[in-house]
């Protein structure tokens, strides 16, 4: 499936139209499963990306993504609009990630400084080689916050200020990490190509 680069961004913004998401969340709180399905369609990449940026493992990210939507279903009646609706969704995801990380931290030894890429467990059939290279570099070589900020900016339609609020970082930090992350990623990819 060939997607124009600009179409992805444009599509994504339309996909996450805040009015529509708000509407869907209301319907979900009235137990409308079709609305849940539609919400999933529109926001699953954003949720998965955030989970992946925290957990650095495709399988874990997949689990957390599912859990997030189940939590949305259970808690939609508590939803109250505060800014972009996707923020509410991503807060849930983020909290689940942090809980999972804490569990893992308690029960598993710290990963070695040189992680092998097999740890990332990215095995969706639609991934191209270029996709994999890009994601591996992002998962392995970017700082945690750099990566989270970058993923959020790429697929959630949140602006820097909203990202700062979600991750509870100061705005200047978000801005500088964002730019550095992009620069770094670019350098890494150019490095890969020249090898």
């Amino acid at each position: 499936m060939f997607i124009l680069f600009s179409a992805v961004a444009g599509q994504q913004q339309d996909l996450q139209n805040p009015e529509i998401l708000h509407q869907l969340l209301q319907q979900i709180s009235a137990q409308d499963r079709d609305a849940l399905a539609e919400l999933y369609r529109r926001t699953r990449t954003a949720v998965y990306a955030l989970a992946l940026s925290y957990l650095k493992n495709g399988q874990d990210a997949e689990d957390i993504t599912q859990d997030t939507f189940v939590r949305i279903w259970d808690n939609a009646h508590r939803y109250q609009r505060q800014g972009h609706p996707i923020r509410w969704i991503l807060v849930i995801c983020k909290n689940l990630c942090l809980m999972r990380l804490r569990q893992q931290f308690r029960t598993e030894p710290l990963p070695s400084f040189d992680d092998t890429t097999s740890l990332f467990a990215l095995d969706s059939p639609t991934l191209t080689i270029e996709d994999r290279t890009l994601l591996h570099n992002a998962l392995q070589n970017l700082g945690d916050n750099q990566r989270r900020i970058l993923f959020l900016h790429a697929v959630t339609g949140l602006k820097h200020r909203e990202i700062a609020s979600l991750l509870q970082l100061p705005l200047p930090t978000v801005l500088s990490k964002y730019h550095r992350a992009l620069k770094q990623l670019k350098k890494l990819l150019e490095g890969e190509e020249s090898l």
């Binding site: 680069f5 992805v8 961004a9 913004q13 499963r33 849940l36 399905a37 999933y40 949720v47 990306a49 992946l52 599912q66 939507f69 189940v70 259970d74 508590r78 807060v91 909290n95 689940l96 942090l98 809980m99 804490r102 931290f105 308690r106 710290l110 990963p111 070695s112 400084f113 969706s124 639609t126 991934l127 270029e130 996709d131 994999r132 890009l134 994601l135 945690d144 916050n145 750099q146 970058l150 993923f151 900016h153 790429a154 697929v155 339609g157 602006k159 200020r161 700062a164 509870q168 970082l169 705005l171 930090t173 500088s176 730019h179 550095r180 992009l182 770094q184 990623l185 350098k187 990819l189």
Partner: protein, 513 residues
């Protein structure tokens, strides 16, 4: 929102990577009260005709549909068991007639003593039994779960029986105006390990099978803990374990929801938790509420967040006492060491940068880290600019992420925050442009002639907007194509505006809206 080509590619990669699991999610998302969609799995193994008895807890009766099977009258084709508390077993032939009815515990005997079910139609028998259960108060609003188990060698027949009897029980309960919860299952009589366990604990095979699936899907429940629980309690636990219904090994079908009327209720439990924690319920984001069995009692498990503090509570489901609780600050920067408590703030505000508030006293200071980096680079503080330092977490290690520019290169360091070890150093020589003057002024980024305020004005003026009318304003100094520029972004009336303004001349280099 401006997206560089690289970011577009990243977005595409993430889109490709994210799996589509809508079916699994919808399975786990059922309407809160009322009918639960059945999740029957087809029987795979074949069953031998056998006489299986032993159903301890009361489960619904399965009734064989009439007229389906024609065989010798007294030959047993299926065994249907009901467990609630009384445990009753019906041996049924192909004509759906009861050949023999047996009780496997004293309560069951009391039930059967009132009736003679020999040669009666299964439907009639089931009705009679359910009626007796209701009369004796074994099934009521407080405990409304009934387990139906069918043992049969014929998979298709077993399944049919299962749903027929389950329906029969449901409607019997409905006519008595009891909101029943019927769990039904079909099992293989030759499942020896469970039969042994069932005999060992003196419970029915059906109940053992249900307990086994609960234990399999739990990380802390043990078989021996659960044998004493009623079917209603097991049903409550089962409905908390979403996997139980999904496990293809199970053949559990569930109708209705287990009564939790004997308990204080989720809302009350949450109140207890919030009150104990001293938090305003409106600020709490609830992550999870569960029924579980901990430390010998049925509890509500409630997990919630207030800002960065996470609370976990176990509340006794019967009397509302706090059985267990924990509280933890989970600022994402550091690994999960117990952190000092932070005051609870009603509105989530950005926390101060971790650089000035390291939670762990063993972290070296930012000044020290900076000195280490500069020393490694062989540079003095006066010869660098654009210095930034942040506490961050790389692969489980806490590091200072330090970046700065110097006349010959851009530098990037990762300094271990505890040991001061240089974990990573990277510099990129700059060839494109002569570096800007290394004079460092706090307010104005070095090399930039115009201030950020001026750049902001230029952009807004061009857009014909006032500062107070735009949203999400952001401005950053950056280097694009070798030139120092301000990237100005804001939103107005649903439209995104982006400007690139030369930091030296104030000229607008790029506009995007």
């Amino acid at each position: 929102m401006k997206h560089s080509p690289l970011e577009h590619k990243l977005a595409q990669a993430l889109k490709h990577a994210s799996p589509d699991n809508l079916d699994k999610i919808l399975c786990r998302c059922q309407p809160q009260k009322g009918i639960v969609i059945a999740m029957t799995q087809p029987q795979k193994s074949s069953f031998r005709p056998a006489l299986w008895i032993a159903t301890a807890a009361c489960f619904a009766l399965l009734i064989i549909g009439s007229g389906f099977y024609f065989r010798v009258q007294n030959q047993i084709s299926s065994i249907v068991s009901l467990d609630v508390n009384p445990s009753v077993q019906l041996e049924v032939n192909k004509d759906s007639r009861v050949i023999q009815a047996t009780a496997t515990n004293p309560e069951g005997q009391a039930i059967l003593a009132e009736m003679n079910l020999k040669n009666t139609d299964l439907n009639v028998a089931v009705n009679a039994i359910v009626g007796a259960l209701l009369r004796h108060g074994y099934v009521d609003e407080l405990a409304n779960s009934i387990l139906v188990t069918v043992e049969d060698d014929d998979a298709a027949r077993a399944k049919q029986l299962q749903s027929l009897v389950a329906d029969q029980v449901s409607s019997a309960l409905n006519s008595a105006q009891v909101n029943g919860a019927v769990i039904s299952q079909a099992i293989n009589p030759s499942n020896n390990p469970l039969q042994q366990k069932a005999d060992q604990y003196g419970i029915s095979l059906g109940k053992a099978s249900l307990i086994e699936s609960l234990v399999t899907n739990s990380d802390h429940l043990k078989f021996e803990d659960l044998v004493g629980l009623t079917v209603n309690e097991l049903n409550l636990l089962a409905s908390e374990q979403e996997q139980t219904a999904l496990n293809p090994q199970n053949n559990l079908t569930s109708n209705g929801s287990a009564s939790s009327n004997g308990y204080i209720g989720i809302e009350a439990a949450q109140s207890v938790a919030f009150q104990h924690a001293g938090v305003d319920p409106a600020t709490a984001v609830i992550i999870n509420t569960d029924f579980d069995y901990e430390m010998g009692k049925m509890v509500y498990e409630i997990d919630f967040f207030v800002n960065t503090i996470e609370y976990e509570y176990d509340i006794d489901a019967k009397d509302g006492s706090v059985v267990k609780f924990s509280k933890e600050d989970n600022t994402p920067i550091l690994p999960a060491t117990p952190a000092p408590e932070t005051p609870i703030v009603p509105n989530p505000a950005p926390t101060t940068p971790p650089v000035s508030q390291p939670s762990n006293g063993n972290v070296i200071s930012t000044e020290q880290a900076k000195a280490i980096a500069l020393q490694h680079a062989g540079l003095s503080e006066q010869s660098i600019w654009d210095f930034s330092i942040e506490l961050d977490n790389k692969n489980g290690r806490t590091v200072y992420d330090i970046d700065f520019d110097a006349s010959n290169a851009e530098y990037d360091y990762w300094i271990d925050a505890y040991s001061g070890e240089v974990l990573r150093s990277h510099n990129e020589p700059q060839f494109q442009q002569p570096a800007p003057q290394p004079t460092q002024t706090p307010q104005q980024p070095s090399g930039a002639t115009i201030s950020s305020e001026q750049a902001k004005t230029i952009a807004l003026q061009h857009a014909g907007l006032s500062a107070s009318s735009v949203y999400d304003f952001s401005i950053e100094l950056d280097r694009e194509h070798g030139t120092l520029v301000y990237n100005v972004e804001f939103e107005y009336n649903g439209m995104d505006y982006e400007y690139e303004i030369d930091a030296n001349t104030g000229a607008i280099l790029k506009i995007d809206n």
